[in-house]
């Protein structure tokens, strides 16, 4: 059987068609609440500090004190050195601690160093590990190297969930995205994730659709569910609702939970909160009405 391929024009048209769905009133409210519950609230900067991580974790646990019905987000996502602090801060709120590891974002170190990075994060209390694949090996055709690395990281994760970042912006073609998704799934990924957020383009709707369709193929063939995380570039509630429409109409009801779908984002949460304020009060809130983290 030939490799699965993707028609660029058609997949982009299909992805655009989800944007024509009209999401209003109750379905908008429900969608926004779902989006906020699916967010991996993220800070991944060289300037991250304990104070920044505290602010992030507080926001994750209680997104908006004036909107008590908004539940905590799915997870906070930080560098390994901040995992133990984040673990302590989120405590038993239900918010997971995710950590990027494997020399994020480039992954340009040897496997042992990557594994040490992963073990350190897991030992410090990470529930989830976001690894990057070896794009250099992938693009030079060494698929086995990529697969072996993912398997080794999966072993190092122990009980932690593994999200595999493909960095689709560097893979460039949709055919590559399919191949990398299949490889990650076959090598033990619990989730597949588009991007680090450090490369442009990050998540796009067509790339996410291609990955969702790969997850669908795997499910139809094996019955096994794999999670999906678009990350980077999704900053408005409207965009996020379009992603949810795409998810609902591609994979159906079972995936519409934080267990199987996440948004990797930093500024999305506040736009969702602004929209929820408007639905509650009928008026647009000002940017200063929601807190920065």
């Amino acid at each position: 059987m030939p490799n699965r391929t993707v028609d660029k024009v058609a997949v982009e048209a299909r992805a655009a068609s989800f944007k024509t769905r009209s999401i209003k009133k109750d379905s908008k409210r429900q969608g926004l609440l779902m989006v906020s519950s699916m967010i991996d609230l993220t800070t991944l900067e060289g300037k991250d500090s304990a104070a920044k991580v505290r602010a992030l974790c507080q926001k994750a646990v209680q997104p908006d004190a004036s909107l008590p019905h908004v539940s905590p987000v799915a997870a906070v996502c930080v560098y390994p050195r901040w995992v133990s602090l984040a673990r302590e801060l989120v405590a038993d709120s239900g918010v997971k601690v995710a950590s990027v590891a494997t020399a994020f974002p480039s992954g340009q170190v040897d496997l042992e160093t990557k594994l040490a990075d992963v073990r350190a994060a897991v030992t410090a209390g990470a529930d989830e590990i976001d690894m990057v694949i070896h794009r250099g090996a992938f693009l030079s055709g060494q698929l086995q190297v990529v697969a072996d690395e993912i398997r080794a990281v999966k072993d190092a994760c122990a009980a932690a969930h593994l999200k595999v970042i493909l960095e689709t912006g560097e893979l460039e073609t949709y055919d590559n995205v399919v191949r990398a998704s299949e490889l990650a799934i076959a090598s033990g990924a619990d989730f597949i994730k588009t991007s680090t957020g450090k490369v442009s383009p990050a998540a796009t709707m067509p790339v996410t659709l291609v990955m969702l369709e790969t997850i669908r193929s795997h499910f139809l063939a094996t019955g096994q569910m794999i999670g999906m995380k678009p990350a980077g570039g999704i900053s408005t509630a409207k965009d996020a609702l379009h992603y949810l429409v795409m998810l609902k109409e591609t994979l159906g009801d079972a995936w519409l939970t934080p267990e199987w779908f996440r948004f990797g984002a930093s500024s999305l949460l506040n736009d969702v909160l602004l929209q929820l304020h408007r639905l509650e009060s009928g008026q647009y809130a000002a940017h200063y009405d929601v807190t920065e983290s």
Binding site: M1, A10, T20, R21, S217, L220, G223, E249, G252
Partner: protein, 493 residues
């Protein structure tokens, strides 16, 4: 959830209501007169027949309005008006004719929302389609032909084109305004005058178009619109002063018209039925191919002459295609055509619904395996669930005859030669689709398919610049593009 590759039951996705879309009805209000007369010589007038027919909203079965039924006397009056307007319209400076067409196009754009809602109310198609396809495409046809009006000397180099005279145009109910545009725009651009007969179930947008003709000051008589049923159309086609007939509709009626017109000296173009094949090779991009197939057969409830109603799948990917087809069809939303999230609207008329049901019954009784989506249908109105048949044999009725509804017949093939042989084994030849990621295969297959339009890795894409028309019993003549102008010009060398 643990992997369970060996379990007997296939894994299924659940397209339920974990997150239901709230109703999102298009809010634009459209005024509809209780009664519409005929549009003759630039004015609306009561029919000499004094008879009217109900125009029904197929989604609710409510009467929207009453529309005049033109008799012989009404047709005579309309043709006389067109004949009287012809000499002056023909002599009008071509760039002036172009201005009228531009104005019509602009006015369609300005009144787009109103026209879209009216089209959906009258015909049952989803507002998403009337808003995003029918109305914008109608405007495009007027824009496109406005561009040609003053360049006709360059269309067929070395030959001079002159108008034919009064053109009778009879259009179907599946794309009412768009078909009116396909017919009227090239006729006017070439300097002809027109008597148009809309389909009996869908006259309202054509009558709105008549209002637009008034608004832009189109000279009286250049376009006349006579509403009615088959008798009106027959009277129009037979009229001695009609120089050309353009008909879009069923192959049965097309043949009858051709017989009646034989020897009359009238020019004739026919755009008739189809039973178009979609061919998925095993090296296709399967998910996109399935999207295209769904678009090819369920667009406009399958009321499309070029609908991809026969699906041929290479045996090696049959299971994969069928699994995805089911998933994709289950995600289609059927219901209120005015809801912006509706994918499939109402069947156009109770008569067409009966025809579709008869074919579904034939599929079942002849031994094909039927599947239908789990969509819930509204209580009132005319509805048909998205339907597909597997185990269809080439000799089954549903593999041979045009159903003109949301019914897909799935068949298999083993080799490219077999695919071609089966795809071409039909009395029709309107359109075809080829799905493969391999370029060389596309060129070979496309060149050997006997169809007027071949889409490669896409389906149901239209453009005013691209000629549309059929082979074999799908008709003759082309609409759109340079070739479409040929139907409305006499050429001199």
């Amino acid at each position: 959830m643990s992997p369970s590759p060996k379990t007997a039951s296939k894994p299924e996705l659940d397209f339920g209501n974990a997150w239901e879309y709230a109703a999102a009805p298009e809010g634009t209000k459209v005024s509809i007169e209780p009664k519409y007369g005929l549009f003759v010589n630039g004015e609306f007038c009561a029919p000499r027949s004094k008879r009217y027919m109900d125009s029904i909203n197929p989604a609710t079965e409510e009467v929207l309005s009453k529309v005049a039924i033109a008799n012989q006397a009404d047709v005579d009056k309309a043709v006389a008006a067109a004949k009287a307007a012809f000499p002056k319209w023909k002599r009008l400076k071509p760039s002036e004719r172009a201005k009228y067409l531009f104005r019509i196009a602009r006015r369609i754009q300005e009144r787009a929302r109103e026209l879209a809602v009216l089209e959906t109310l009258d015909g049952g198609k989803p507002i998403k389609e009337s808003r995003d396809v029918d109305i914008p495409e109608a405007a495009k046809h007027f824009f496109y032909h406005a561009g040609w009006a003053d360049k006709l000397d360059y269309v067929f180099p070395g030959r001079k084109g002159t108008p034919i005279g009064v053109c009778a145009q009879i259009i179907p109910w599946n794309f009412p305004l768009l078909m009116a545009a396909w017919k009227i725009a090239p006729a006017l651009a070439c300097g002809n005058t027109v008597v148009l007969k809309p389909a009996e179930t869908t006259s309202l947008t054509a009558l709105r178009l008549a209002e637009i003709f008034q608004e832009v000051g189109l000279p009286p008589g250049v376009v006349n619109i006579v509403t009615g049923a088959g008798n009106t159309g027959a009277a129009l086609a037979a009229h001695k002063d009609v120089k050309k007939l353009a008909f879009t509709g069923s192959t049965g009626v097309g043949k009858e018209l051709a017989r009646n017109l034989a020897g009359s000296g009238k020019r004739l173009t026919l755009e008739l039925g189809g039973k178009s094949p979609n061919i998925i090779f095993e090296d296709a991009s399967i998910d996109q191919a399935v999207d295209g197939v769904v678009q090819g057969i369920y667009f406009n409830q399958g009321h499309v002459c070029c609908a991809g109603s026969r699906l041929f799948v290479q045996e090696g990917v049959m299971d994969e295609v069928l699994a995805r087809l089911k998933v994709r069809i289950e995600s289609l939303r059927v219901g209120d055509p005015l809801d912006k999230n509706t994918d499939l609207g109402a069947i156009n008329s109770i008569g067409q619904l009966a025809t579709i049901k008869r074919y579904i019954e034939a599929g079942n009784s002849e031994g094909a395996q039927m599947f239908q989506s789990a969509a819930k249908l509204p209580k009132h109105g005319y509805w048909c669930k998205p339907t597909w048949f597997t185990d269809v044999q080439p000799s089954h009725t549903i593999a041979r005859e045009e159903i003109f509804g949301p019914v897909l017949s799935v068949m298999s093939f083993r080799t490219p030669e077999e695919a071609l042989m089966r795809a071409n084994n039909t009395p029709y030849g309107l359109a075809a689709g080829v799905w493969t990621d391999k370029g060389s295969k596309i060129f070979e297959i496309a060149s050997r398919l006997k169809a007027g339009v071949v889409w490669c890795n896409s389906y149901n894409r239209f453009d005013a610049a691209s000629p549309f028309g059929g082979f074999k019993q799908s008709g003759f003549g082309r609409e759109g593009g340079r070739q479409g102008l040929l139907s409305y010009l006499e050429l001199k060398s």
